[in-house]
């Protein structure tokens, strides 16, 4: 029966192939949207997971999170260095890392920070940053780069970078006067860190101060090995805080909001992420609805294909009945054809999904700092595929019922 159904479909392979393709597209779309969403969320959570609090000039939580952790959007106002030193000694604070932002290198965000960043930053469920090459800052003109920046531009330890001011990819004002030398390359993390350039606080300030750095040549014999650790800038953009005591959060938040000196926000990344997802949730819902609509349309297309062929196939059914096929057998034939088309559609759809994920990943990773996992379908995805399959079986009942009635009424006497 299956064999016969396949042969019959092969006989109508053009239309059948189009139907398979439309089911494949809808399957790839449904799963693709889910994977994109899940990967984006997982990647954001991975990146922000190790930070307990982000302290920044008062503003919108989501915006602070995006601009500090993900380098998306501008960081707005600056905060005083004093505030950082105060936060660092607050009770319950385990570590605090100052951050300066707003520069880019060839379109990739540049962050001014201290060596403590590499020590304390955690990603992907608690993994610390590791150096694939070199080490943290050795002079104040050192730069540490993410794995992707290194491969993208062919940088290695010792390469000299020139930054451009502003967070855009096109920049008119080049800081030729403040070059940096790569002191370390981070191992890949699969997060936005791979696409970041880190420089010292002093180096970052130097970009803006416009003075020629003293130690342009790090190997100059008399240059003191000053890695900028002692440098105190006037202003910074944000502080990452790790708590030694989880319960300290409320106290710190209260202390900051009561502070007379400066208006600051203490953002919990996980809370801000939830806010972000509730914002994007509407768009995700719309996308999912759309992909379900496409799936329904493609299943309707299949019903149309099967139904349209019924009249042309009356003779085929009459012949089958004359050699002993019952109306039920022919009913089964139509359902089998529908299921074969759907199964093929699902398989082609999976192939399409993996092919398009493979080709989309470089773009996603370059623009958003995450990749979609090329793992086998999860249980939930299998559930979605099963649902498509069951809906197809249900939809096939319509033409199958018609053909059942038709073969009963026609018997063997169809006249052509």
């Amino acid at each position: 029966m299956l064999n016969f159904a396949l042969q019959s479909l092969w006989n109508r392979r053009f239309v059948a192939a189009l139907t398979v393709l439309s089911i494949a597209l809808s399957v790839a779309l449904i799963l693709g949207v889910e994977r994109l969403r899940d990967s984006a969320r997982a990647s954001f959570a991975d990146t922000a997971g190790g930070i307990d609090l982000i302290v920044a000039p008062r503003g919108n939580d989501v915006q602070i999170l995006l601009s500090t952790v993900f380098g998306v959007g501008s960081t707005g106002a600056a905060m005083r260095w004093d505030s950082y030193t105060q936060i660092a000694v607050m009770p319950g604070v385990g570590w605090a890392v100052p951050l300066m932002m707003g520069d880019n290198h060839r379109g990739y965000p540049v962050t001014g920070t201290t060596a403590a960043y590499f020590e304390h930053f955690r990603h992907s469920g608690g993994t610390p940053l590791a150096f694939a090459q070199g080490s943290t800052f050795v002079t104040r003109d050192s730069a540490v780069i993410g794995a992707e920046i290194a491969t993208l531009f062919g940088y290695e330890v010792g390469s000299v970078l020139v930054n451009a001011h502003g967070a855009g990819s096109v920049s008119f004002e080049m800081h030729d006067d403040a070059p940096f030398t790569v002191s370390g390359v981070l191992a890949p993390t699969g997060t936005v860190v791979d696409r970041m350039v880190f420089v010292t606080l002093e180096g970052f300030d130097a970009l803006h101060a416009g003075y020629a750095p003293l130690a342009a040549d790090p190997f100059a014999a008399d240059a003191p090995q000053d890695n900028g650790a002692a440098y105190t800038p006037e202003q910074i953009n944000a502080v990452y805080v790790g708590l030694s005591q989880r319960t300290a959060i409320l106290g710190i938040q209260r202390a900051l909001s009561d502070s007379q000196s400066e208006a600051l926000s203490a953002v919990m990344p996980n809370v801000a992420l939830l806010q972000l997802w509730s914002i994007t949730g509407t768009a995700e819902g719309a996308l999912r609805l759309m992909s379900i609509a496409v799936a329904i349309a493609s299943l309707i297309g299949m019903v149309v294909m099967l139904s349209a062929a019924l009249d042309a196939r009356r003779r085929e059914f009459a012949i089958l009945r004359s050699v002993g096929a019952s109306p039920r057998t022919i009913f089964g034939l139509i359902v089998t054809e529908a299921l074969a088309v759907t199964a093929a559609g699902i398989l082609v759809g999976l192939v399409l999904l993996y092919v398009s994920m493979t080709s989309a990943n470089p773009i996603l990773s370059a623009n958003f700092g995450f990749r979609m996992g090329l793992h086998l379908p999860t249980g939930e995805e299998m559930g979605i595929l099963l649902a498509v399959f069951c809906f197809a079986a249900l939809a096939a009942l319509l033409p199958a019922w018609r053909v059942y009635r038709m073969t009963l009424a026609d018997g063997l006497t169809t006249r052509l």
């Binding site: 019959s8 002993g324 096929a325 063997l412």
Partner: protein
Amino acid sequence: MSTSSYNHSSGAAAGVEALAVAIADLRFNWSGATDQTLAIERFGLRTGERVLLRGPSGCGKSTLLAAMSGVVDVPAGTVRIAGTDVGALPQSHRDAFRVDHIGLIFQSFNLIPWLSVRDNVVLPCRFSAQRRQRLSGTPQDDAQKLLVALGIAEHSDTPAGNLSYGQQQRVAAARALIGTPDLILADEPTSALDPEAKDRFLSLLSREAAHSGAALLVVSHDPGLEHHFDRVIQMSEINAPKVDPC
């Protein structure tokens, strides 16, 4: 019901076993039609007998064939094929019964065009264990033998749709014959063929039916084909429907 009462045309006292078809007191109306289509007192076909059925258009020949093959509902006790009361069979058994006992040939378009000639011929074996059991070899081997006998063996692997009408009818004959059913019913199998092809087709069909031992009932309007048959019957001889006198 006495078996001898079916013995209509022959003086020999043949039992049920010797009758491929036995019809008694068959009345049939198409649903919705006021006129009776069939009213047959007695009609029988002995095993292996070859009969040509004639009659004007619309007199119910195709309907009679449909009644024999269980396509239309007939009352229980009116139609027996190879000893089985077709009217008493539940609807769901009739398709299986048909393929087990009857080979059918239509006027034209007998074949599934995208299946190969050989695959068309073996179709009944897919659906009937009885037909498979009566084969002498594999379905493919038996099909090939029949195709050789009918002179179209060289087309075995061609899609059936590519053959000429005459060739297609011979493939249909091979399919009706495979697995030696008790009865072969052919409704105007030659009407799409030229006179020479008609004659050749019927002589092949008749010869192979005799060879397999199947009874053969052919409906045809064409003159000059009588010599292929044991008997020629006019529909009017057996069918006397009451016509609504309005």
